[in-house]
């Protein structure tokens, strides 16, 4: 053995910090979750207070559990395992500290701004633009720290867990930046650069892959490291883990459109999303089986070891959720399940079962090692497991039952499919109330289990001295023949064939006539050439692949290209297609300044979290809400408001349905006009004056984004708002409702009344 023997002390301090943050933010996020679940049962729990209403707290819940709870857990797991897998201390103590404190600062900013109604109005991407910039900055800090550590590694081979971490870092960076592209109108507000269908596609490309690359791939990396460690045996099949990784990277990124099935999204994208979602079945189950089979010969330990209990259950829930996901992506199943509680049940099987239990297993395994003291109580940890499991099962069973009931009732028709069987939306809501209550109990049990962990954590670390792991290693230079330069990476036959195949295929798909023909010829020629060369070149190509697995930078770049290809092929055509000149049938009229101000209030209050604005191309949707939504009808919506859940009815065409006074009474007390409704009251909209001074800046940004507003001065904008508001206030007065025309409720009514009002397009259309 050559080289000098040195001692490395790991930076476990930052791991402890992230672990502690996981425990705290987990409790906060879940507590808010139980509260908002209870609000759906008991509207009084909204306390008629702006910052305590469901619409503002729901983003706080989702952001807290995703980015604060799972985020901190992920960083703890990644930093602990990476240092040991590469036999190197984290590259920079400063960057590690900056990463930790920066991330906590972001979380605190989110916890303050979201209840204040400062939001971008896109699910899981609600944080306002200054916080977005901080997230990007801290993510870069994390990436630099991670890759710098890899560059200093003493273990040449990169274990598969590291691959999963690399894919997380590069993909989340890409997704986050693209979906958060915005133009600020003020320090606290911005409009997304995308609108309508393109915003919908980008949002769910991001939303779906946030699940994939924030809640799944890093946790799979953690599974591949910590599960073998806890079971004290290597992973069942390393080969299967490699297949698992590559298939997820290549397939996951394409599946986002399954969130938009039966909507105005172009049909080819819907089919693409469904096809790739179904393909996800195989790799996900391969990974689950690999995890469970790692426990072969160690199953008896589950009786006593809470860590293995949590891991085994977590992997099982991973399998269950990844079976359900593709199932829900089948268009006909989706017609029943979308917008219902079934989706909520699916999501929570993944988050509570997979993420939450992996976090618990990680914490119980790390606690004794990071504080050099046995866990305070194994019995309490076991109790946590059983309470948590019962909680999840109650939660998920309730939501499945509720979701399927909703879907069946809302889609049910009589008279040979021409009349709705349950025309009143509230019939459905009141039928599922017992299930909604069971969800609160299930969630409450899960939260109680987490509090047991908090207590166990506290008692374990109390009085214990934190310890950092150390190892002695030989400091050796890497073998020169294992190096792969960037030129060697990209000017190799496999990479060139891949780029050529994608290039020709794109020409074929998106070109016309000669370009398309050339694309077909090129793609086929490329395929034939590649297969012809396999017999003679397979050894050299194999050697290139082996080297790739030892070289972090080329590996990272190729992973990045793999994920970026899926995104570009979906997004670019959609961004280009959504131009007014391409729209057929119907086109949206731009909002008046007052309507735009009302729309911003709608977004601020989180109305999109319970009300969709997308009538699907399904008969029951059309019977209930009116003609199906066209692509052109949301073309100027920055951001889009298609929604993902119908706790209340769709609002795409509500504008032509009720008089102004109905909306006035409804926002004042929903139960006055809709008996049995669970919607909160919004008394502050009747007392807060609308801030009209921000509208010129907002209109300016809208114009910049391509919304066809003519040039107008600030005074003209104020005059227009004043005139429209006075008209609405006068109409309300006539109907016996009294309110000053400068109040927020007037702007909101003006917005609601414009929904569904679009213009027919009379211009040329493509021959069908």
């Amino acid at each position: 053995m050559s080289g000098q023997k040195i001692t490395i002390e790991y930076n476990d301090r930052v791991v402890r910090q992230f672990l502690l943050a996981t425990v705290i933010w987990g409790a906060v996020g879940m507590l808010v979750g139980v509260l908002i679940a209870a609000q759906l049962n008991f509207w009084q729990l909204n306390f008629a207070t702006p910052w305590l209403t469901f619409g503002r707290l729901r983003p706080l819940h989702t952001n807290a559990v995703i980015f604060a709870f799972v985020g901190n857990m992920m960083f703890a797991g990644i930093y602990y395992s990476t240092q040991r897998l590469v036999k190197a201390r984290l590259a920079s103590d400063f960057l590690s500290s900056l990463h930790f404190w920066g991330w906590q600062f972001i979380i605190v900013c989110a916890a303050v701004t979201l209840p204040l109604g400062l939001t971008r109005g896109k699910e899981y991407a609600e944080l306002i633009w200054p916080i977005n910039l901080m997230v990007v900055l801290i993510w870069v800090v994390f990436a630099v720290n991670f890759f710098w550590t890899l560059a200093r590694r003493r273990e040449p081979a990169l274990y598969v867990a590291i691959w999963f971490y690399i894919s997380t870092i590069v993909t989340i960076a890409m997704l986050y930046i693209v979906n958060h592209l915005s133009i600020p109108t003020s320090l606290l507000h911005s409009y997304p650069v995308f609108s309508g269908v393109q915003d919908a596609l980008v949002q769910w490309w991001y939303g779906h892959n946030a699940v994939a690359f924030f809640l799944t791939t890093p946790i799979l990396g953690i599974m591949y490291y910590f599960l073998p460690k806890a079971a004290e045996r290597p992973v069942y099949s390393y080969r299967l883990s490699v297949v698992h990784f590559w298939s997820l990277v290549f397939v996951y990124i394409w599946a986002g459109p399954h969130h938009l099935l039966n909507t105005a999204l172009p049909g080819w994208l819907q089919n693409l999303g469904m096809t790739f979602s179904l393909m996800l079945w195989a790799p996900s189950w391969g990974g689950m089986l690999n995890g469970l089979l790692t426990l072969r010969g160690a199953w008896h330990k589950l009786r006593t070891d809470p860590v293995l209990k949590f891991y085994a259950a977590a992997v099982t829930f991973y399998g269950m959720a990844t079976f359900e996901g593709p199932l829900l992506s089948i268009k006909s199943v989706n017609a029943l399940a979308h917008y219902t509680d079934w989706i909520i049940g699916h999501v929570h099987a993944g988050t509570l079962g997979w993420n939450g239990f992996m976090a618990a297993g990680l914490i119980y395994w790390l606690l004794p090692r990071l504080w050099n003291k046995p866990l305070y109580s194994t019995a309490l940890a076991n109790l946590h497991f059983w309470i948590g499991t019962v909680g999840i099962l109650l939660y998920v069973a309730a939501m499945w039952t509720s979701g399927i009931t909703q879907g069946l009732m809302l889609n049910a028709t009589t008279e040979h499919g021409t009349v709705l069987a349950y025309p009143n939306f509230l019939d459905t809501l009141n039928t599922i109330r017992p299930m909604m209550l069971m969800r609160v109990i299930g969630g409450g049990l899960y939260l109680a289990g987490w509090f047991l962990l908090v207590y166990n954590f506290y008692r374990t670390v109390k009085g214990a001295a934190p310890v950092n792991g150390t190892i002695e290693v030989y400091d050796e230079a890497p073998a020169p023949d294992a190096k792969l330069s960037l030129a060697g990476t990209f000017f190799s036959a496999p990479t060139l064939f891949w780029f050529l195949a994608v290039g020709f295929s794109s020409m074929w798909m998106f070109g016309t006539d000669l370009v398309s023909t050339a694309g077909i010829v090129g793609a086929v020629a490329c395929l034939i050439a590649a297969f012809a060369l396999v017999p003679s070149r397979s050894q050299a190509w194999g050697g290139w692949y082996e080297k790739l697995l030892l070289n972090a930078l080329p590996f990272t770049l190729l992973v990045f290209f793999a994920v970026v290809a899926g995104g570009l092929i979906q997004i670019i055509p959609t961004v280009l297609v959504q131009k007014a000149k391409n729209v057929e049938d119907r086109i949206q009229t731009p909002y008046t300044p007052l309507e735009l101000a009302g729309r911003d209030i709608y977004i601020r209050e989180g109305c999109y979290l319970c009300h969709s604005q997308m009538i699907r191309t399904l008969v029951p949707d059309i019977l209930r809400y009116g003609d199906y939504s066209r692509l052109g009808e949301s073309i100027y919506d920055h951001p889009f408001q298609w929604g993902s859940k119908r706790t209340g009815p769709d609002l795409a065409r509500v504008g032509v349905k009720y008089p102004n006074v109905w909306h006035f009474r409804h926002m004042e007390n929903p139960r006055a006009v809709s008996p049995g409704s669970n919607m909160p009251t919004y008394p502050w909209l009747f007392s807060h004056a609308l801030d009209a001074s921000v509208m010129p800046a907002k209109i300016k940004v809208q114009r910049l984004l391509g919304v066809p507003y003519g040039p107008r001065t600030a005074q003209q904008i104020f005059d227009s708002m004043d005139e429209q508001a006075k008209g609405i206030a006068k109409d309300l007065r006539t109907a016996g409702a009294y309110v000053d025309s400068d109040k927020e409720i007037v702007a909101l009514i003006s917005y609601l009344q414009t929904l569904g009002k679009s213009l027919p397009v009379i211009t040329k259309s493509a021959p069908r």
Binding site: E9, Y238, W246, S247, P266, P466, S505, M509, A766
Partner: protein, 61 residues
């Protein structure tokens, strides 16, 4: 071209092409992975355990 993307039945070919491209890359890599020599796979699988023998935990304030 854009109307083609939205309206024409031929758009099914885009899905098939994407599927075949992704499936080809996946199958190639899966084939490589499944042909990995047992010794090499074992070596990789044991990487999480290579530091166990000499790792210790030192008290650190």
């Amino acid at each position: 071209m854009f109307k083609r993307l939205i309206l024409e039945d031929s758009s099914i070919w885009y899905i098939i092409t994407a599927f075949v491209t992704a499936a080809t890359i996946f199958l190639t890599i899966a084939w490589r992975a499944l042909r990995m020599p047992r010794a090499e796979a074992d070596k990789f699988a044991h990487l999480p355990f290579t530091t166990d023998a000499n790792e210790r935990h030192d008290p650190h304030a």
